[in-house]
Subunit: 452 residues, 2 copies
């Protein structure tokens, strides 16, 4: 049997082509590091591609490639949650290790897929599924393995970050920047997944599981997009020393404080963060994840969250890990060396399956964050007193107030920043504020986090 590692690439879109290019470009680096030849033996593609090395088998039957005797590792870069799932399950059943970049599939069906992989003693690696080329999965599963993770906050959708960056830097409105992002190919024709936060929620579900050792629970992620963010709020935030970023948060609450429920917050939403935080200075399509853990403290990981090169880098890092799993360069029986490795691998969700916990995911009303409030009121005496009294009665502490001159006749926006408060309390306070006769519009609220 050959000493080489045989890959199948299923799907020849941007990422699949990126993987082929990476292997061509860095063949020597791969061999110098692994001591093995890593070769693509098959590709699964519906349409025959003339630009592919003729030594590579092109197969339009993806299920057949996933089970081929000529393949050690199956790289799934088809996307979607139907065919992709079928080929991955089929590959697992046939004893193949799998590498996938498919965040939606794993966030929604990962528990089933990982259990099936455990059963068949193979690995499903997914570095490319979260934050593209940033090795956040490896970092959290391995490098932070001795830490207790308290919370993480991540810019995990490049399109959303591009839009927020352009709005702030150039004073352009949301819709305008979104159009440009679509022209540049950053955003899909249907941008819902990006701008409504669903893509970020998929990634957050994965990050939270490996942070806390809980099953994947995408359906419990609180999800708010950036479609409601206006230039007005971007500018007020700046004036107060903050910047609005679209962030995913996973936070462990121990139920220690007043009104604090015990459980885990999973939430994706626009957030005011301090201007001088590194995370606030991660711009354009870059992604970044900030992890706070004990005893390490805060560490930040930043890089390209998408694109052919970054994604291929993550896919091939997974392949390089699997090369070691597949046995030494002296090994001539890979199926055997495979068995020897039972138990040596990093658990799929960082914690061993029987140790995943049923810690509850908190409901939105139980979550705790600071707030930015924009309140529009008639400029009548006593309105500020009314608002601050309502907040004070609800036990909400005000951190800053900004009252700007009237921009319509007789109407002034009041900007209020609060300290962290349980959301249900804030809901009640806002309801009362909106009932004041002097209040002319719905209260605009955006969450705020000091990242401390």
């Amino acid at each position: 049997m050959s000493n080489s590692i045989k890959l199948a690439i299923l799907g020849l879109g941007t990422v699949g082509t990126g993987v082929i290019n990476l292997i061509n470009d860095n063949l020597n680096e791969l061999k110098r590091r692994s001591g093995r030849d890593i070769i693509i033996t098959e590709v699964g593609t519906r349409r025959h591609r003339d630009d592919i090395d003729p030594n590579i088998v092109q197969n339009s039957d993806l299920m057949a490639t996933a089970a081929s005797d000529n393949v050690d590792i199956v790289v799934e870069v088809i996307g979607g949650t139907t065919l992709a799932k079928d080929v991955i399950m089929h590959a697992i059943k046939n004893g193949k290790h799998v590498v996938t970049a498919n965040k939606a599939l794993l966030a929604e069906h990962g528990n089933e897929i990982f259990a099936f992989a455990e059963e068949h003693n193979v690995h499903v690696a997914y570095e490319a599924a979260v934050a593209g080329g940033i090795p956040i999965i490896k970092v959290m599963r391995e490098a932070l393995a001795a830490n207790k993770i308290d919370w993480l906050a991540g810019i995990i959708n490049g399109t959303g970050n591009f839009i927020m960056t352009e709005m702030r830097d150039k004073g352009r409105p949301f819709a305008d920047v979104l159009s440009e992002a679509q022209e540049l190919g950053y955003a899909e024709a249907d941008p819902t997944f990006d701008v409504e936060g669903i893509d970020a929620a998929h990634k957050l579900a994965l990050l939270a599981s490996i942070a806390f050792g809980i099953p994947l629970q995408f359906d419990k992620v609180y999800c708010e997009g950036i479609t409601g963010i206006t230039l007005q709020d971007v500018n007020y935030a700046e004036e107060l020393g903050y910047r609005i970023k679209h962030l995913g948060f996973a936070v462990r609450r121990d139920g220690q404080g007043n009104d604090e429920a015990s459980g885990i917050e999973l939430r994706v939403h626009p957030t005011l963060i301090p201007q001088d935080a590194l995370l606030a200075n991660v711009n354009g399509v870059k992604n970044a994840v900030l992890v706070n853990s004990h005893p390490l403290g805060q560490t930040l990981y930043c890089g390209d969250g998408a694109g052919a090169g970054a994604t291929a880098s993550a896919v091939m890092a997974d392949v390089m890990d699997l090369v070691r799993v597949l046995g030494s360069k002296d090994s001539h029986d890979e199926s055997n060396s495979n068995q020897n490795n039972h138990g040596h691998h990093v658990p799929h969700l960082a914690f061993i399956p029987e140790q995943l916990s049923d810690t509850p995911i908190l409901r939105a009303e139980q979550m705790i964050t600071g707030y930015y409030l924009r309140v529009h009121a008639y400029d009548s005496p006593g309105v500020l007193a009314d608002i601050t009294r309502i907040l004070s009665d609800a036990g909400i502490n005000i951190d800053a107030i900004l009252q700007k001159p009237a921009h319509k006749v007789g109407q002034v926006p009041v900007i209020i920043l609060t300290l962290p408060v349980v959301e249900s309390q804030m809901n009640l306070a806002i309801e009362k504020i909106e009932k004041l006769e002097t209040i002319t519009d719905k209260v605009v609220r955006i969450r705020l986090d000091e990242l401390a």
Copy 2:
């Protein structure tokens, strides 16, 4: 044989105590992730400590502990390059895996130590040796394993970064901040290793080896500290949109450009970098490493570079990796499962030993960087023309000039930023400039990098 992993901690200073505290604090997290009990069976300490769990053997004979039958993994946190080397070599000889935080030892004797470990089929893990809690060793050896690394730039000495940050933020002179750093315990009583760049050079030697697959060559690192940096230069840099950081650079040069030699630059020096680069905003004692690789592009890793918690986190991440190497939780014969893993491990220097290359390390005169020059001249007509002509004749392109009003009678500093140039060219140009009759002082030069 027990299912538990038995550690020896050699040295009970800040880091050794930090490791003990981490294991106590996070016992449950460690077990949930690894499926194993990780217990400290022995500590090597000269003085008996009453505050240590009485179940842990305290041994003043460190060589005996390093070879003890009651130990799977030896954690060396003694420091220094004499006793530490002896106990590590002894542990290796006795088939123990080793975890060390000792950058000086590895930078100076790593080639010998790693070869000895290969010979005895054990691993020497050293995540804690570079950038403390930032998992830069794992990231570069594993997560970037499919990339060709072009260059890296790192803030890899916390004391130096603290000093540079305070000078800029508070306008305090070097000596003043150094005293404070010593009072705060950031800097040693003898701060030479930190402020002269030697500590950073140790770390850079390690990073360069795993970036490019070259043997450790600490003796070839060009090393310049921060003792010569004045507030005047800090302020001029800011005015021109740059910030001075003390950085370690490892750069691969392909010899493509004009006058460009082929080889690797290893250099540690103060550097002007753009103010808006994330790296320029990594402040205080934080460390960060920016890696530029193909096809991934730039990724940044930031966190605490020192301290008990951060270092213990890195030490224990290595232990968690070794737990997997030591076999499955079902394995009852660790020495056997050990043998099965020959060849499965990540190579010590990222590339397999027979693939380490003899790419030359460039001499200082061959290195290529931009420059900040501060030239003091009598305010006579034609002086600027003289200087710019000398630079132009040497093929040096000027990027910016700042001429400030005279601060002594008749004398004005001229600040010049240049594009990248081979150092030998710059040496010649400066020699000529200093010979001009209008020049009153030595030319001050600080390297400059756009990090592009």
